[in-house]
Symmetry: C2
Subunit: 329 residues, 2 copies
């Protein structure tokens, strides 16, 4: 059993077992609703919190309608390392679409990507990556985009795990989602990722229907094509549901303040702050990726899912940092 | 019984009884799920449609998760005549906020509104009205706006009906919403109105939770004020969920194509078209306001809820136009 690294991160607790699961239905809840979680402070806090808000006679009771739980996606529900899944999808789309875009041969960062020069692609930063996402996620109908995303997610494997990207999801979180729903919670994904990229897999992976997915979006236009109404994705970002955008996305899509929020990076801080700023009892949690063997270990200086300020601020804010630990079951 | 005016509007059918209801719970569904509806073609079409999509062994079966029904708000679920409720709220806010905005005394259309010159306000058109909405719906936190909207809705009465605006809702639609939900449908409001203006009353009025309300929105910013995180509404429109915006709003918020859509004006055409363009069986309906005695009669040339093109195009498109008729129960 891994010893929690409490010196480094304050409220860091070991309570998380990092395994992946293909099927939610294979889990048994008869005895312990969170069998993949260690019996540590994080699990204890979750069980106590859920019992408290569901207890009609208790002081912390919350009406079922207000039991809103929000989860970040990349690094919180599925693997984001070594690169966000959607970015890899966008890279693949550049290669597929290159014949229709001769100008990419001379335009960065497309040129570098087509030449396999990932160093230059990386040097283009978030701005360059966003250009790639915008270019590859627009110019088609909503239905066409859904088909492309679904096809890629159903066929492309993660090199380390040799399983589909869409199946690199965290078993403990599946248990937590099911446990929350069994206790009257409505569960949402609130991600910086593209809202329409996640929706094809949200129900199957997490039991979260598409209407409970909140994410970044492209400007989309309603058009009549060949006498049929279609939605066409435009090469322009409509909303970035990341960092300070997450509470805004929650306000627009959900219209209620969550009582539980789970993230894994500094980009989730505002979502957690917004959740915790509500009256009554709240729970804010972060995954800390510390399992280099079975998954990945990264935090303060990572190029994806940077977890830095959170580790400094967790204790004073009452945030729970949960280890994705080395423990096997 | 009012005779359907089929000559004028093609598929116009008499099936709708225009009464208002205070309490959904006062309705009985034991025998007839739609007791306020006449036994006409519209009611028949609805009952047949719901039975067909809910019949697991039938060719038109639709999985419960895909049974999405969307309803316009103004003029479809609650009264919009003689002026949209939210516009009246904005007018009232101008009067309340005037002391903080001395510039309004010399700026149109605020000047005219403060002087009671409604002709000039009207002449400022939708552009002028939008300026008033933007100015009065921004500069406060999300919580403050919700409080103001709730207070106004809980205290302001409609002059014709001498009851709260928030209670001027259509009994037949309450029955339909409940009937759809009883048959596995998820019901949504999809309105050109402000998403945050409707949410305080959506659950109480219609049994529709805030997260199932889709509407127009203001740019909103996450800020830290006095050490506490707040959302501040900005004087800028983020999204107009009207006309061609409605299918886009549905795409962003719901992520599925509805199988039933109900509107009442030309502004709902794109939503109905988008709904009907899906494969399998669909139902598209429009309210036609024809009850001058008990409500209002208006359509082609109305300044609110204009119903013109719909009346010409309904038959060829298979849209059902439902009379809000003179029949009393």
């Amino acid at each position: 059993m891994r010893i929690p690294n409490q010196a480094k991160s304050g409220f860091l607790v070991s309570g998380f077992i990092g395994i992946f699961a293909l099927f939610l239905s294979s889990v048994s809840y008869a005895a312990d609703p969170l069998p993949s979680w260690n019996d540590g402070p994080a699990k204890k806090a979750i069980l106590e919190f859920v019992a408290a808000v569901a207890n009609e006679n208790g002081k912390d009771y919350v009406e079922p309608a207000e039991r809103i739980a929000v989860f970040d996606h990349d690094g919180t529900l599925w693997v984001e390392y070594p690169m966000y899944t959607q970015i890899l999808f966008a890279f693949e789309r550049v290669k597929e679409l290159a014949p229709q875009h001769p100008e990419w041969k001379t335009t960065q960062p497309f040129k570098a990507l087509l030449e396999g020069d990932m160093k230059t692609v990386g040097a283009s930063g978030m701005k360059g990556l966003m250009e790639i996402v915008v270019a590859t996620h627009s110019g088609m109908t909503a239905a066409e985009f859904e088909m492309e995303a679904s096809r890629w997610l159903a066929t492309t494997k993660h090199p380390k795990f040799d399983r589909l990207y869409s199946e690199c999801i965290y078993q403990p979180q599946l248990e937590l989602l099911a446990y929350l729903r069994a206790n009257g919670f409505k569960t949402f994904i609130v991600s910086g990722g593209g809202i329409q990229f996640m929706r094809p897999i949200s129900e199957k992976n997490y039991g979260i229907p598409p209407e409970q997915v909140v994410g970044s979006s492209a400007v989309t236009e309603f058009q009549i094509k060949n006498g049929k109404s279609v939605l066409v994705r435009q090469p322009k970002i409509a909303f970035v549901n990341d960092k300070a955008g997450k509470p805004v996305g929650i306000y627009e899509h959900i219209g209620r303040r969550p009582i539980l929020a789970f993230g894994n990076s500094d980009s989730d801080m505002q979502m957690i702050e917004f959740t915790m700023a509500g009256e009554d009892r709240r729970l804010g949690l972060f995954v800390h990726h510390t399992d280099a063997e079975r998954e990945y270990a990264y935090d303060r200086k990572s190029h994806v899912g940077t977890l830095d300020k959170v580790l400094d601020m967790a204790t004073e804010n009452g945030w729970i940092v949960v280890d994705l630990s080395l423990i096997h079951i």
